[in-house]
């Protein structure tokens, strides 16, 4: 007897073969036996995965931890997967119309009837246990139905034309991506205006806090984009510079009482120095080796922060970090110190804690836009083009007389200083920092934003940051399934656009007397 995993591996064989045949001969007799086997295997895999992830659940109950079971959810998930797979196979076998109807029906059913409401009573009758259906199953049923219906609709529409027409449509998707990207020229300023008016559109603390978080990550990703997106060096330790910036500000502020506005540039300088120091040993490395060393550097910084207790406070971190004042003019506290002016008195308005939140939001927004401005400008300078050449082809880059060592160092230094600026903002916003905040996962998230956005695309990064940082918050209502939904979203995006959301690359130069109308590179360069 073979295990289920073996069966799953065996099933990998016939399935792709059926795929090839299915697209060629649209109408033919359906092999029901193969269909049921395939759907059964899918259901089996879902069972294997969900029995531990969904079926058993450790929860806090009074008096300690308890293991709760949700086997009904597992059964429901298996049934859903089975039905869904049958639908997918039927589409492949040239029967999209019934699947389309079925998918829509399943989605509608999921919307109005509690999911798999039939299973509940049966399950209760069989086991005597009580079953409360979870929201997630409903979401899966509705979303799955819609996706399968869309797929069926797409196949129906696509199989009308000839192969040539199909090719044209595939190209059309790429062109659409390029158009979207070109449209960011107009969307860009609109987005900036929207970002600036956001605190007034949503005068609410939670929203502005979330927006601040998103913009912080946008800024970090724009900073990392210089190394990863432009110079093509995979840096897995970017959080190190973030940490250097944060600790620089925190220490300068708590030890020497320097104000935020003096420390901000200093934090940038310190982080840039850290970038320079890291840059030297990794200069000769490429690809995977480079990634590993930067990963190590990120961890080293964190471990130093954790262990150098006299300076950094070790795991306790640094607390009581000064909040920024309104450019040294006024303070955001209700009753400021003797010689200071309170912001609300200064403007003659009622005191409200949200003033500081809004101010912090604007602060990070301006910092992020500054990073964006510098990145866009620098891409058109010789150094920016040299970075791109380095990303495209290391050897050719050298044969063109480019000093690889220097341009790598410059990329590192600039990128690190942006990370440092973001770090000092983080410290002043939180008022408390500890090594906990600078784990590897932060580097991974920032890198994921850059890659997801489409390496090197400024607008793509904004979209990706909103998705990566905003979505987990939006999905918060799904409770324990939050990260599952988030993961599913990520997988969907990478299947749909494997090179990132906006991966089209605009050329930086075109001849005025060119044969084709150039996409006015000069004008774009002038845009901040």
């Amino acid at each position: 007897m073979t295990t289920s995993l073996d069966k799953a591996a065996d099933a990998g064989g016939p399935a792709p073969a059926a795929d090839d045949g299915g697209s060629a001969a649209a109408r033919r007799a359906i092999d029901w036996r193969a269909l049921l086997i395939e759907a059964g295997i899918t259901a089996g895999i879902v069972f294997m995965l969900s029995i531990t992830l969904v079926g058993i659940h450790i929860a806090n109950v009074t008096g300690g931890l308890a293991i709760l079971t949700r086997f009904a959810d597992v059964v429901a998930a298996v049934v859903l997967a089975f039905v869904g797979r049958v639908g997918i196979v039927l589409i492949r076998e040239g029967q999209p119309i019934p699947v389309l109807i079925g998918g829509v029906a399943a989605a509608i059913l999921g919307l109005f009837v509690p999911p798999m409401s039939l299973i509940g009573p049966i399950f209760s009758a069989l086991t005597g246990g009580e079953w409360t259906p979870s929201v997630m199953l409903q979401v899966v049923q509705v979303a799955g139905g819609v996706v399968i219906a869309l797929r069926a609709a797409w196949v129906t529409w696509r199989t009308r034309g000839t192969l040539a027409e199909q090719d044209q449509r595939t190209g059309g998707v790429d062109r659409f991506g390029a158009q979207v990207q070109r449209a960011t020229r107009f969307i860009g300023p609109i987005a900036v205006v929207f970002a600036f008016s956001l605190p007034f559109l949503f005068y609410d603390r939670a929203t502005i806090d979330l927006a601040t978080l998103v913009v912080t990550y946008i800024m970090l990703a724009w900073g990392l984009n210089i190394i990863v997106g432009l110079a093509g060096l995979l840096d897995l330790g970017y959080v190190a510079f973030y940490a250097v910036g944060a600790y620089s500000y925190a220490l300068l502020a708590t030890e020497f009482g320097l104000s935020f506005w003096i420390c901000l540039p200093l934090a940038g300088v310190f982080a840039a120095t850290a970038g320079l120091i890291l840059g030297f040993p990794v200069l000769r490395l490429r690809g995977d080796y480079f990634a590993i060393v930067t990963l190590g550097f990120g961890e080293i910084i964190r471990i130093i922060l954790l262990n150098w207790t006299q300076l950094t406070g070790g795991p306790d971190g640094i607390s009581g970090i000064a909040r920024p004042s309104f450019f040294g003019i006024a303070d955001f506290t209700r009753r400021p110190a003797e010689d200071q002016l309170a912001f609300h008195d200064w403007l003659g308005i009622e005191f409200d804690g949200i003033h500081r939140i809004i101010f912090l939001y604007y602060l990070i927004l301006v910092l992020a836009l500054f990073v964006n401005f510098v990145s866009i400008r620098i891409r058109r300078l010789p150094i920016g083009r040299a970075w791109e050449a380095l990303r495209e082809d290391d050897v050719a880059c050298q044969s063109l007389g480019i000093n690889r060592r220097n341009i790598k160092l410059v990329a590192f230094t600039i990128s690190a200083s942006f990370g440092g600026l973001a770090g000092s903002f983080f410290a002043t916003r939180q008022g408390f920092i500890s090594p906990e905040s600078f784990q590897f996962i932060e580097s991974a998230i920032i890198l994921a934003i850059v890659v997801l956005g489409g390496m090197g695309s400024q607008a793509g990064i904004v979209l990706a940051a909103i998705l990566m940082i905003g979505m987990p918050e939006v999905f918060r209502e799904l409770e324990q399934y939050r990260m599952l939904a988030f993961g599913a979203l990520m997988v969907t995006i990478m299947v749909w656009r494997p090179r990132g959301l906006l991966s089209h690359r605009d050329p930086t130069i075109s001849l005025a007397a060119g044969s084709k109308p150039p996409p006015d590179a000069a004008k774009r360069g002038a845009r901040p």
């Binding site: 495209e392 063109l400 007389g401 044969s515 150039p518």
Partner: protein, 243 residues
């Protein structure tokens, strides 16, 4: 060896190692200003290694490389490439995501931007195909067009010596002929000195003024292109089938 102090490029007694493997075993050759000189040899003879050694990557362990009378053996690659030598590397190595125009511009990165327009016009005059495709991305060009782009890009830095590493690699015979015609034209009209490393011995020797034959890290034969073409050993080793 004749006129070694007048030579634009002079390689003397160069040994190059990859780890403990001696890839070049004391190679000497000269390229005079205005010449096309070719280096032919079988796969693995060390032709590309010599070209890369001239560029300083890897550096010669012993011996000297002189360009325009100056010793460049110990210089770093980017300095060498800025001193008037340009290279079209093996396998073309154009920038695939950049447009043709950007690729050409990259070649001029270390040159005076004042004559960018003029140099672009000259590159487009040599390769009209590149002008037609100037907004197309490098990666979408055909092999022959990519080779044209690689040569055009190398010329953008206004070099005095053009190093070409196997420009015929993987190209159809008709395209190879076109490429070699253009190399001859660059030499005639611009007086460009060309050092050409080739496996396609027939075309290379027909084009070149002089040639060297390399076998396992050593230069074994030298002579004018016509002499080498007529040489029995060369014919037997590199010219089977007549062309």
């Amino acid at each position: 060896m004749r006129g070694s102090d007048a030579a634009l490029l002079s390689v003397s007694g160069v040994h190059t190692f990859y780890g403990s493997i001696e890839a070049l075993k004391g190679v000497s050759l000269q390229v005079e200003a205005g010449e096309i000189v070719t280096l032919i040899g079988a796969n693995g003879a060390g032709k590309s290694t010599l070209l890369m050694t001239i560029c300083g990557d890897p550096r010669a362990a012993r011996g000297t490389v002189r360009f325009d009378g100056r010793d460049i053996t110990r210089r770093s690659t980017y300095e060498i490439m800025r001193s008037g030598i340009a290279q079209s590397p093996e396998g073309r190595r154009i920038f695939p995501r950049m447009t043709v125009l950007e690729n050409l511009q990259m070649g001029a990165l270390t040159a005076d931007p004042a004559h960018l327009e003029e140099d672009l016009e000259r590159a487009f005059a040599l390769f009209p195909r590149l002008k037609e495709r100037q907004h197309q991305r490098g990666g979408t060009l055909s092999g022959g067009e990519q080779q044209m782009l690689a040569i055009g890009r190398a010329l953008m830095s206004r070099p005095r010596l053009l190093l070409l590493d196997e420009p015929s690699l993987g190209l159809a015979p008709l395209i190879v002929r076109q490429i070699f015609e253009v190399i001859g034209e660059i030499n005639r009209t611009q007086g460009m000195t060309v050092f050409l490393v080739e496996q396609n011995a027939y075309h290379a020797l027909k084009l070149a003024h002089r040639g060297y034959v390399m076998v396992t890290g050593e230069v074994t034969l030298t002579g004018t292109g016509a002499e080498l073409l007529a040489n029995k050993e060369v014919q037997a080793a590199y010219l089977e089938g007549g062309s």
